[in-house]
């Protein structure tokens, strides 16, 4: 109970923090937590190694940006629509890639991520090309405009992340979650046990994509601008690193991973240009000494010792 109170306190403290920079770092951490939770469904639950996750984030961000700029669509309508669009993208990507597995899936998704980013860069008439889109509307809650202050976004992202985290842990224990574990462990055996492998894989991709869409929509509304640079391969890799470092398949773990990997570079700011250099070393050391992740589940720990989860 005291632990829960402590967590609640930590989570709500930033609302009284006068330091705008610190709140912004936390808002970014919450955004990453949302993304990591989504990718965790795909990689952690269903065991599909996805290297182009940033593409779903981009679909969500551009969906809201275009709807808002062209049709004046309000944020609260844009949010579910962006999620649906990114979820549909995940589903559509899933249809052709059901045939490939393991490393090959990783490569196809990587190619997909790059294609989306370059297409967005090149379709200048719609997306503004490399300069991106400007002047995207901020959310308005009744008469309160979120504006450029990070605090309301932190709150919103916190609520979204909490709901998604809750849903994920429920999902993990449901029949769907069990089916995903079965597929992750042994696809052939799962198929033989009567699990519709393709359907559950598509579901994981659709849900994971949809969550990235939510994050993308909030991101676009918070920044007020979207540019293709925000959705490069590095982002996909960072979110994946959060999932793996936090603990594949563990909801608490991936949130922790997102917090550590998004806040650590900020804490290293005093090292100036050596910051990312040190960050690289930290990543190597973390995985060296804790291969199951910071918060690896007993299940994952067992797998990490015995057989390979994925390639």
């Amino acid at each position: 109970m005291t632990r829960k109170l402590l967590i609640l306190l930590l989570v709500f403290l930033p609302f009284f923090d006068p330091n705008a920079y610190r709140v912004d770092v936390l808002a970014t951490a919450a955004l990453y937590a949302l993304l990591a939770l989504g990718l965790n469904i795909i990689v952690g639950f269903a065991g599909l190694l996805h290297l182009g996750y940033a593409a779903f984030f981009a679909v969500g961000a551009y969906t809201y940006a275009l709807l808002n700029l062209n049709l004046g669509c309000p944020f609260w309508v844009g949010l579910p629509v962006s999620a649906a669009a990114a979820g549909a993208a995940g589903f559509l990507l899933g249809l052709p890639v059901m045939r490939v597995r393991g490393d090959y899936l990783a490569i196809v998704t990587l190619g997909f991520g790059e294609i989306v980013r370059i297409v967005v860069t090149n379709l200048e008439e719609w997306t503004g090309g490399p300069n991106g889109l400007l002047g995207i509307g901020h959310p308005v809650f009744f008469s309160y405009n979120f504006g450029v202050d990070s605090k309301p976004y932190y709150g919103l992202l916190l609520v979204l992340a909490a709901v998604v985290a809750w849903a994920c842990s429920r999902l993990a224990r449901s029949r769907i979650g069990l089916a995903w574990v079965a597929i992750r462990e042994d696809e052939l055996a799962a198929e033989c046990s009567g699990i519709d492998v393709a359907r559950f894989k598509l579901l994981a991709l659709g849900l994971g994509g949809g969550i990235a869409g939510l994050a993308g929509c909030v991101f676009a509304a918070k920044q007020g601008t979207v540019t293709p640079d925000s959705f490069d391969f590095i982002l996909s890799v960072m979110v994946l690193a959060m999932v793996i470092l936090g603990g594949l398949g563990s909801v608490t773990g991936v949130i922790l991973g997102a917090a550590v990997l998004s806040i650590a570079p900020e804490l290293l700011r005093s090292f100036a240009i050596y910051r990312m250099l040190i960050f690289g070393i930290v990543m190597i050391l973390l995985i060296r000494f804790r291969p199951q992740g910071l918060w690896g589940t007993a299940q994952i720990r067992k797998e990490m010792k015995g057989r390979h989860v994925s390639a």
Partner: protein, 304 residues
């Protein structure tokens, strides 16, 4: 420029850049063959190779083609190859070997860590802006009509070709090559036959990294600039080339590299340079969907 001239010119350009892709792709494919690991730090090794070349040029105060330039050019290549071979050994030792028993996903994370480290080390040492890398070969063009080839292009092609022949000899006609193929086929059986798989893996890393280093110098000279970000996209494309040919398959990486270069050159000439990368990646996705083992690959990764 007539249409046949345009076609020929793009084929020449494509083969030039394609032979660089092939050199880098070989490193991906050899490491994959032996460890089933996609070495995501490989692109950074290529970038470091280009900077090693730049360092020699700066240290020796070389500027433009002069007498003895060709010897210097070959010296740059040798330095990049040697430096990157050592770098490859270090990466294998620090980032991969301690995790031999860990799942492949943890290796992905250490590879990313190594990438961050190398990119930022180079950025700190040489600055974040593009650095000018002068070509040491004469800036003349040979050719007929609108179809031209530069000495540098010819050199890139020749160097890449000779290295690939050499590699082919090493892999298929030496004891080390046999040990390498045995380790790729069945590590346990190889160990039982008295092969030190650790040593073979380390040497494979060194060999692949040396080729990437040479690729770095050739690529940097071709575009006249180097940047610490260069490793990412080029590495990705070389990887595409490796997959195109069939990952784990050595002749496949060569064919894949040249083919990818051709596809890129022709799409730059007939579609637009903006879209050439989309076309390259679209080809990758299509190949994987319809012929997942690649053009020459015999193995299918069934590791879920």
């Amino acid at each position: 420029m007539s249409s046949s001239e345009l076609f020929l010119q793009q084929v020449i350009n494509g083969l030039t850049i394609g032979s660089v892709y092939a050199l880098i792709a070989l490193g991906y494919t050899m490491v994959y063959g032996i460890m089933q690991l996609i070495n995501f730090a490989h692109g950074e090794v290529f970038m470091v190779g280009a900077y090693l070349g730049l360092s020699v040029i700066l240290a020796a105060g070389l500027q433009a083609p002069a007498a003895g330039s060709l010897a210097w050019f070959l010296f740059l290549i040798a330095v990049a190859a040697a430096g990157c071979a050592v770098l490859g050994l270090i990466i294998e030792r620090v980032a991969y070997r301690p995790l031999r028993r860990a799942p492949k996903l943890s290796l992905l994370i250490t590879a990313i860590g190594v990438s961050f480290f190398l990119q930022n080390a180079v950025m700190i040492g040489y600055g974040a802006q593009d650095r000018y890398l002068p070509s040491l070969l004469p800036a003349v063009t040979w050719g007929k009509g609108a179809v031209t080839v530069t000495p540098l292009q010819l050199m890139i092609f020749v160097v890449a070709f000779l290295l690939m022949v050499l590699l082919h000899r090493i892999v298929y006609a030496t004891g080390f090559g046999r040990a390498m193929r045995a380790s790729a086929q069945d590590p346990l059986a190889a160990r039982l036959m008295g092969i030190s798989v650790d040593k073979v893996t380390a040497l494979t890393f060194a060999l692949g990294s040396a080729l990437a280093g040479v690729g770095g110098v050739l690529f940097g000279s071709h575009y006249s600039t180097v940047n610490f970000h260069d490793g990412y996209l080029t590495g990705l494309k070389a990887f595409t080339a490796a997959v195109l040919g069939g990952i784990g398959n050595i002749p496949g990486a060569m064919v894949g590299g040249l083919l990818l270069g051709l596809i890129e050159g022709l799409s730059a000439g007939y579609v637009s340079t903006q879209w050439k990368n989309v076309i390259a990646f679209a080809v990758l996705v299509l190949v994987l969907l319809f012929r997942p083992r690649g053009l020459l690959g015999e193995r299918v990764a069934e590791r879920a």
